[in-house]
Each structure stands twice: as C-alpha cells, then as structure tokens.
Symmetry: D2
C-alpha cells in the first residue's frame, strides 16, 4: 500500500513519440506517484533525445516538459525498461501485440491503451471509473502463463468511445439494475484518428459516417466492462446479469477533442426510472478510484449538466482535466426507455488518463 | 393537366429576402412551368429592388438571377399577389401563420415551408417523394373554411430533417410492411439555422446536441407523412397501419449544407428483411413525382451508396441537385432490426425543392 | 507602492456579462492584488445574480468562478462602484463613451478595453508590454478635466490585432532604431467578433477579407503606442522619431482564438539588421511590467519559435496563459527589409489581460 | 486551325488517379475539342478499370463520368499514349520530371501542372489569362532538343497561388505600365495540398503560416509570366521592362477550395493610378484565350466585386466555373500604392483549367 511518503514508482512509456505517448508524457512528467525514466519508440527514433525525436510531431498545446526533453529514446525492447515498475503502452496495434507480450513475459507490468489484449480472456479491460475490481484477475493471469510469472501482467483500458458511454451505463445499472438494450450514435473527434490521421479534405465542412472497426469495439467491450469477475476470479462473466444488446453508429466530426454520444437505453426491469431519478443517480455515482483517493481521479465521475444544450465538446471536454464524463439532456425515449447525451475527452479519460488511473488504482491495491 | 405548351403559371415568393426565399428564387427564376412575378418581404424591404433589398444578405454561390434583380419587393399582402397561381412561402414561423391564412382566405394557393400548418388537420404535409396523394384533401380543406373557397389552399412540406429520413421509411414500408420503431440521430448542417443563425463561436471545433423543437417535429411529422388519407379524403390516418414509435436525437455540426442521420428501425413483421433485400427495395423505390415526369423530380428518389463511408454531406449533398435522398451502410442492428445512414440536402429537398416539387405535382394533377 | 501584504484593491467590471467581461471575471476572481466586488451590465441584467444573468451566454471553458456566481449584477452607474479602486470596462463602444466618462468624472479609475478613448489626446493607449510609461500623462489628464479631479482617469488598451504586432515593432525599434514602413496582413479569430458575433454561415469553409474599421485601428493606434510622451508629459508624440507608414489588410478566419499576422517591415537606418540579429533582439526584449514583477506579466514578452511552421493559433495561443506574443519565420523580405509572423491571443493579451496588466503596473507605480 | 467541325483531338491524362488528375478527367470527359482516350497512373493502378483504381480515392462532388469509369489505367509509359495529340500531366513532382521528358522525347505534346519544368529556359510557363504568347517559344524548344523533334513539347502552367495574383498584375501593367513592388500574403485552401495532404489535426481551428516552397514559387514564377519573349522568340525576358521585387507570405487556412490573397503593389511610374482607375482597368482586361473564343475561357477574366467583404472563397470560387479571377477591396495602400484582395479557384484556374485552356489556345494557334 502506498503512502505519500513512498518513493515514486519508476515508469516507462512505449510509443512515446506518438499521439497517445505524448499525452502519457504530459501526465507522467510531474506525477506524485510515478517517475518517468524510460521512453520507447520505433528504431527510427531510438538513440535520439526526446525533443529531437518528436521534432515536427509534437502537437500538444503544452511544450515538451523540461525534464523529458533530454531523455534518450530507446527501442521498445525489454532491457531498457527492466527498472520500471510500470510500463505504459501507447503503441499502435501493429507492434503492440508482440511487444506487450514480450514485456509481460519479462515480468513487467504493462498498462496498455492498445486494442490487442482488450478482449483477451486473461487480461482485464478496465475503465477506471467503472470496473477496477477486474484487477483481481491478475493472479490468475500470471499463473496461466507458461512459464508463470510473479510480477508482470497486461492491463488494458477501453476504446475511447466505449469509455464515454460505459461509465454512464455502469451508474445506471448500479442504481436501477441491468440494462437490456443500448443504442449509441457517436460524434467522434479527429484526434481519435491520431496524427496525421484524418485528412482535412475528408472532414472540413463534412462528417464521415464510418470509423473502421469502432462500432464492433463498442458493442463487445461494453459487455466485458459492465460484467463482473466470476467468483473464482479466473474469468469475466460478460454481463451475466442478463442479455444486453448494444448497437453503435460511429461518425467522425470536425472537432479536435471530445467524443459526443447520443444514447438510448432500456432497463430490464419495468417501470423504468424517471429522468429525475436518473439525474440523481448519475450525480451520486462514485467509483473505487475516487474512494481510494487516486491522484488522477476526477472529483465527479459524472457531471450532469442542467443547461439544455450541454455537454458540448469545446466547452466541456477540459472540465476536471478531462478525467470525468459529462452528461446532459436526460429525457424519456419514445422507443427505448431513456435517452441522453454523453461526452468524454477521448485523449484524456478516453486514452492516457485511463491507463494512468488504472495504474494508480493498482498501486493503491497492492498490484505494483 | 399541363403540357409543355401550356403558358407558365405566375408565381410569387413570400419571405423572398430570407435564406429559404433565396433558394426559391434560384429555383423559380428559370423554371419551365412557373414564372416568378412577385416577391414579398418585410416592410423594411418593401418598395426596394430585389438586388437592393438583399444587399449584404445574399449568401448564395450563384449571383442573383438577372431577371430577378430589378423586381420590386412588395409587402406580404394579398393585393400584390392576386395574379399568382401559386404563392411559395419561405416566411419565418412568426409571420407565416396569419399571412398564409390571409392568402388562402383570398383564394390563393400557398405552398409553404413554414411549420405553422404542418400538423393542421386540414392541411397536407407533403414530402414530394412520399405522399403526394395527400393533395386529395384539398377539396375538403376548401369546403371546410368559413366561408368556403374554391381555389385557394395551404400545402406544407416537412421539416428538413424529417424529410431525409421519411423517404427511406416510406420505401421500407412499401416493400416490407409497417415499421413499429424508428430511432434517429441527426447531424444537421448550420444552414438549417438560417442567416445569421448559428454563431460561429458555438460551432467551430464543436457540435451542439440540441436543436430547439426539432426532435418533436421528427417524432410527429413522420406519422402524418407515412400515414394515408382516410377513404373519404377528409382526414389523415397518421399511420393507422400500426403503432409507430419514433425517437430522435438532434445535433448541430459544422457542416454548411446536408443533414446526415443515423437510423435504426424495426419492422412489425418478422423476420425482418435482410440488408441485401433492403438495398434492392430502396433502389427500386419510385414515387408519383417521378411517374408524372415533374421537372424537379430526381432520377433516383433514393441513391444507395456501396462505398462503406458514404454518404457524406460535402461529397453527396449536391448529387441530382439535392433533390433525392442518399443512403448507405445498410446493415443489421443488434437492438432493432436494421440500421443505416441517410443524407438529405436540407436547403434543397429539405426546403425549397420540396415546395416547388409539390407545386409541380399539384399542377400535373389539376390542382393549379 | 504595493507589497504582498497590502490589502487587495477592490475592483469592478463593466459589461460583465459580455465576452470581454467574462474574461475579466476569470482573471480577477482569484487575483493576488485585486478583489472583484462589483459587476455592471445592462438594465436587462441588473438585479440578477451573475450566474442567472449569464445563463445561456457564458461561453468559457471554465465554469463561472464560485465566488462570482452569486454576485448581484448592477446597472452601469457610478453609485454601485464608488468602493472600487479600479473599474475595468469591457463595454461595447455604444455605451462605453458616456459611461466611462461619467465614471471618470466621479473620480473613478477606468481601465477600458473599448475603443472610444484610445485616440483621445489625454488618454493613454497602453499595450502593457510596450508603453506603460504613458501612464505618466495621468496627472495632466486629471488636471485638464473640468472640473479637475484628483484620483480618477481613463486608461485604454489597444485593439487586439494592433497588440500582437506592436510588441514586436517596439522590440525592433528599441534594438535597431525607428521603422519607416510596416505592412501587415491579419488572420483574425472569430472570438474577436464577440458573441454571437460572426455567423457560422460566413466562416465555415471560408475566410472573410474585411473586418469593419479594423485596418484603420492598426494604422493609427500603432503610432500612438510606439511613440513617446512629450517631455512635459502633457501630450503623445505619435512616433516623432520619424515618419512611419503602416498599412493593414484584415481577414477573419475560422479559428476560435488567436490572431495571426504576417508582417513586413523596413528600418529607417540601413543596412537593416539580419534575421539572426532580430531573433536575438526579440528574445532579449523585456518591458517594465516584467521588471516590476507584475502578476500577469509573461516570463517572455516575445517567444521566438525555431520551428519553421510556428507560431500557430491552436498550438501557441495559450502559451504563458496568452500573456505574451509569439513570433516565427523571421527572414529577409524582397520588398521591405524583414518579414515575419506574429501571433497574439486576442482574448487574453489582446483584451482582458492588457487591461488587468495595465492596472497592475499602475498599482506598482503608485497610480492606484 | 480548328473549327467546330474538326474531329476531336485525342488526349491522355498522366497522374489520372490523383487530385489534379481527377479534375482533368471531369473537364475532359465532355469537352468539345478533346476526346479522353488514355489514362496513366502508377504501376499500382495500371491494368485496373479507372473506377476501381480510384475506389476510396475519388473525392469529387461529381461522380466519375460514365464514359471514363471503364477506361483501363495504363502505366505512365509512352507507348500507351502515342495516339494522343495532347497529354495532360497531373503528376507529382517526383515522377513528373523524367516522365514528361520521356514523353516529349517521343514527340508528344505535354501540358503539365507539375512544377518541374516551370522555370526551364525552354519551356513556357503560361497562365492562360496572361501570357499565351509564350507558346511561340515552342519551335525553339523543339529545335534545341537533342535530337530535335518536330511535334512534341512541354508547356507548363503556374503554381496555383501565383495564378491568382499574376492575372491581376498583368492587367495592371497593361493599363499603367510596369510594377516595381508586389507584396502578397496568401490564405490558401487545403485542396492545394492534395489528398490526404493536410492533416485535419493541423488545420481545424487553426492556420499554418508555412507552405513549403510556395513563397519562392510566387516570387520567381511571377517574373517569368509577366515578362515577354525576346524578339527572336528564343528566350524569356523575365520582366525586362524593369526590376520587380515580389515578396510572399503563404498561409494554409481551413477552406476546401479557393486561394485568397491580400496584395499591395507599387507602380514604377508616379503618380500611381487611383482605385477608381484600377477598377475600370481590371474590368476592361481581356486576354487572348477570350479573343480566340476558347471553350474554357471565362467571360470575365477578372471580376471586380463592389461589395466591401468580397471576394470570399466559399461564395465566389465557383463563379464562371472557377475559370476567372475575383478581385475586391481595391484601395490606396499607405506603404505601397494600391492594395486589394484577389481570389482564385486553386483546383480550377489554379490547376487543371489552366492546362486545358493552354491546350485550347495551342489548338487555336496551330500548335496541336
């Protein structure tokens, strides 16, 4: 169990020059529990100072932190990261699979934003405001490897658009019992596509009604996250509380950061709660990361807006440093039971903040 | 019944200086059946040449047509329009109510884009690719007035976002029987808000999850349009074929023209048709305006795109001069039966083109 | 002379519900020298709590500060502000003229962002990184009024686009002597137009090559700001060091915040300095607000970027909380001597920050 | 000399799948003088039907023309194009150099939009509204090759941003004698960067004050275009009428199509003409392409707008199908003599339209 007097845990970042990696660096360069000591990137960057490796590619509104500028970038190989108590992975899905596996096999703890191990039956898929109890599969994950290991593991966080919705769904299920239908339409920001990512010719004065693979992620990840661990802590029950159908329409819109979603849901138990009851329940929702006093946890897991035209990406995405979810327009749905709007900061809670917060919880719970 | 040798019908435009009025003028300035002879606007514009009345407010990519520049704008009073066989109304909802009623009382035929009489039990609400048979309530409308009239009437067209969806719903019901659930999320263009309309501060790098009153319009207009006339042609049956629940989420996005919608539907009869059957049915759909050979009717009422990322507002809104509906991504929905994307050009078929096409059908059917 | 132990100066904000007023409130709600005690707005808002007065109009990414939410808005009349050691004015130019004059006549100190008194021969026009020495006309301003006053005055700050350029020009003149020609093209953000301000229909997928009155402001304000006070401190010399011709082209671009300018200059003395000498001079430039240790002064008055594609509005406008000027691409100009790009945060240094920083300097120099 | 009864000239397009190539295809698929028979692209596309080769890459608002869909794409090698009287090149600068040279060596006529041969002392650099007389260097170009050829040649058109400015400069010089200074700031559309080109992350809510290499092109191409041929028609005089200094600042803005430029100029001869004289001269300007009645020539080479806020890219770029130049805000410049705003459609007159129109003039003048 950590305390404020504990020495900081040394951490590394894989994929450090990419979009997600840059966000990891901003969050970790002055973190109370973690000390950033190792940066990994492709062989093209290895051997360069970080400031040189990201020349022309650093696209953040904050400059490269002073204490990171001169760190020398390494290749994404185990040796350079053996000193790290945590390795954060912002790798693309191409390299993420073998690299993360190799790091785990070397007994390292990997907190990954990549999609590769999200649906793996041994790897927790954790949205830190929802299901940090899934960390408890870690002993089984370690034991199941061949050969077994005693310290390493892989923990993943969810797709950015899943994250923004599932926090609200969890709060609803906690208060009113299982949902049976969820229909989501997303309006997703361009930063979700990385850099250079979405061509300006595709998105200025336009929206694109397709984000390849995204709908499937929402439809499958949601069940794993909302579900529990089996009682032996060796498997995920994938929402055994009842069948839950999830349908997603995903769209790209010309917004820099912030994924908005319109959501309609129905509850297994009728009569469904009223909009007023839901507002109350969402405002009351708290999660383990908050109870444990984690550094990156938001004060409010869910902020419910009263104004009828909120949340909006530009105005609300940076509230609480993007660590919570914003909800508005809670009202009855003529087709399902209830409809509402949710917003998540896709580059914060939807990506790096989730990984960091998952690691903070792991630290508090003795998994580091 | 008109023929190509018939003299043109003289027509006027109310609200001629506004956004919708400007579109009417572009469509009517060189129309084979109509001759634009009278322009009405507020008292501030009355007495001015049109070119002067719209100075600083003409926001079209085409210049003011040569034969309209020097027309003198009138107040929106009956006397200046008595010569008109058709009066198109692009008035705002404020003045539209009393002005359109006065014009009808004076035995004039009004084709209105305003919302005021859309849900009136005597006034047809017509999407020209869907329910032009509703024109047949006109005799009853005339007879029901006090005193009755023998030539005038009010015909309305639908809200722009309703229009883009209901054409597809009609084609589905024609082929596969009644729908019972429709869940729509719109991504609507800024031109739908008129000029100056949406503040740039609200929409650059942003989306707004509220368009006041819009969701209710979609939820109610759809039933009237998809329904039929009673057999005595004195009332609308509002989708008597079965209960139909419609739910809409409406959003404003930074797109100039073109309302995109993601739509999930379920059919009353199971098993529901397959995506392939639906593609075929939508491509086969034809409407009365096409059969009658109306000038503004599109060749294809519905264009189904094969590319997985279409339709897109910027690329597809001007196809067929914006007179048809674009559909794509037809696939199974895990919550309802089928989901897809539709796109309508809100300033063309979603507004002026509908009114003009309704009048063309009325002409062909002897109602002018 | 203030010290960190001095009690805070009570301050008020006129035009508190508007765009500039909202920025004043964010800066003053937790200021080490100033305590925000009075808010003034139009009679429509007077008597309401601030949070209610700005309902639907608060367009900041930060919520209304807790300690301001419940302040009751007053009419812009003297009595409610008599307790204020400084009154900041974010009024529109319509009411600004008579209101600011009345406040000064009542012996109040007005720091105004409005244009009305900028070119007044008694009122300083101060860009806080340039010409805070112009405060020394205050005694003469007080004495020239009829009747004379002993405490009040009006101090103005410059137009937002002027501000971004004139800081650089001042640094150039300090290092290399008088300029004789300056040719500026601005690419100005939409927030400069206030709210609702620029219509989205005018600026999505577009630029507008006119900002009414803006070019004249740059062309005239620059001379007053770059010039000195006469030796008797009773007049401005308007760049008596030599004739200086300034020409501006002003454009509105679809950017939320941050005015970019491309600038070509020529020096009276030849040969002109090299780009390298200019980089060095700009980086070395310091101003009185920095020397006095003012709270809102940036660490770097001018940040010179080495990257060839910087500064950029989105990436650089919030550097140093928008209190400095960003410069890049310093190179030889084939027509004049030197050309470069500058960027100012128009809502920060270009507006509220200038007024606040001017007041901080006034405090340090004994004018409060 | 062609007549309307002449058989069409068979033409081909190199780089047919790219952004410029797509524009060539739209212009040539139904051209009165040219018949599109051959398409060339990279080896990855060679052998495919055009519709397949551009799948996912056709980004035009018009569908692929029916008569082009099934053309089989060839490699960019001479044999497949021997039947062509003209070969239009939309190649990137990488392949353009050797390919265009090989085609010319094979006695083919190449009209190229690439930059490679623009400044070649034997190749005309022609803006079709300006200097079509430069075609007369063709005999010398042919004779200078080794071995000499008797039919082939390379004719280039200018950089898109140069084009929009130089038409106006030419009209000014025709009317008022040589210019000696031109200072230009461009606000250039994203389509100028091709596809995928500019990342949306770089341009949403942003402008970028650098377009690599662009400023130099404007500064050098302008002299060649405004200059004449020497009397022996064997060289370009590069504005021998007097020294002309050109300075450019180039910026990328979030606009789909249409390059705006703010321009200040001074005339060699004083006093300079008044704004009124300039308006008159620009409106009177006519060029050879118009006199010859070329199909793609605009009715007005220069359209001068009276409205004070025009031209604007979105509203004016498609006027005359983008074949002319738009000018507005002609007024005195405090630093040089006169300043104004110009707009060119960069994908039309700024690219494909120039090449096509150059070929139309060549046809009329007997060079085909």
């Amino acid at each position: 169990m950590s305390s404020s007097n504990s020495p900081k845990v040394k951490v590394g970042v894989l994929g450090a020059t990419g979009t997600v990696g840059q966000r990891f660096i901003l969050q970790l360069s002055s973190h109370p529990n973690f000390e950033l000591v190792a940066l990994g990137a492709s062989s093209a960057s290895a051997g360069k100072r970080y400031i040189d490796a990201v020349a022309g590619r650093w696209k953040q509104v904050h400059p490269v932190p002073e204490n990171v500028r001169d760190l020398v970038v390494q290749a994404c190989e185990v040796d350079a990261f053996r000193q790290c108590g945590v390795v954060f992975s912002g790798l693309d899905s191409g390299p993420a699979g073998p690299v993360e596996e190799a790091f785990r096999a070397a007994n390292l703890r990997v907190f990954s934003n990549a999609k590769n191990y999200r649906m793996d039956p041994l790897c927790p898929l954790i949205v830190p405001l929802v299901n940090t109890d899934h960390l408890d599969i870690i002993p089984h994950q370690r034991a199941s490897l061949s050969p077994p290991i005693d310290q390493g593991y892989i923990v993943t966080n969810a797709n950015c658009s899943t994250t923004g919705v599932v926090v609200v769904l969890k709060a609803l299920e906690n208060a009113f019992g299982p949902l049976d239908k969820v229909l989501v339409t997303t309006l997703q920001a361009i930063s979700g596509g990385g850099y250079p990512g979405v061509s300006s010719m595709d998105i200025v004065d336009n929206v694109v009604p397709l984000i390849s693979g995204e709908e499937g992620k929402i439809e499958t990840e949601t069940l794993k996250i909302l579900g529990g661990l089996t009682s032996d802590k060796k498997a995920f029950d994938n929402h055994a509380s009842g069948p839950l159908a999830v349908s997603a329409h995903c769209n790209r819109v010309p917004v820099i950061d912030g994924h908005l979603a319109t959501v309609s849901v129905s509850f297994a138990k009728k009569p469904a709660p009223s909009p007023e009851e839901i507002v109350k329940a969402l405002r009351a929702y708290r999660c383990e990361a908050q109870e444990l006093g984690c550094h990156s946890a938001p004060e409010f897991a869910i902020t419910v807006h009263d104004e009828p035209d909120r949340p909006q990406p530009r105005l609300d995405r940076d509230w609480q440093n993007g660590a919570g979810v914003n909800v508005g327009r809670i009202r009855e749905c003529p087709v399902l039971d209830i409809k509402f709007v949710s917003l998540v900061n896709n580059v914060m809670l939807g990506a790096a903040t989730s990984s960091v917060l998952n690691a903070e919880v792991a630290l508090k719970k003795g998994y580091l």
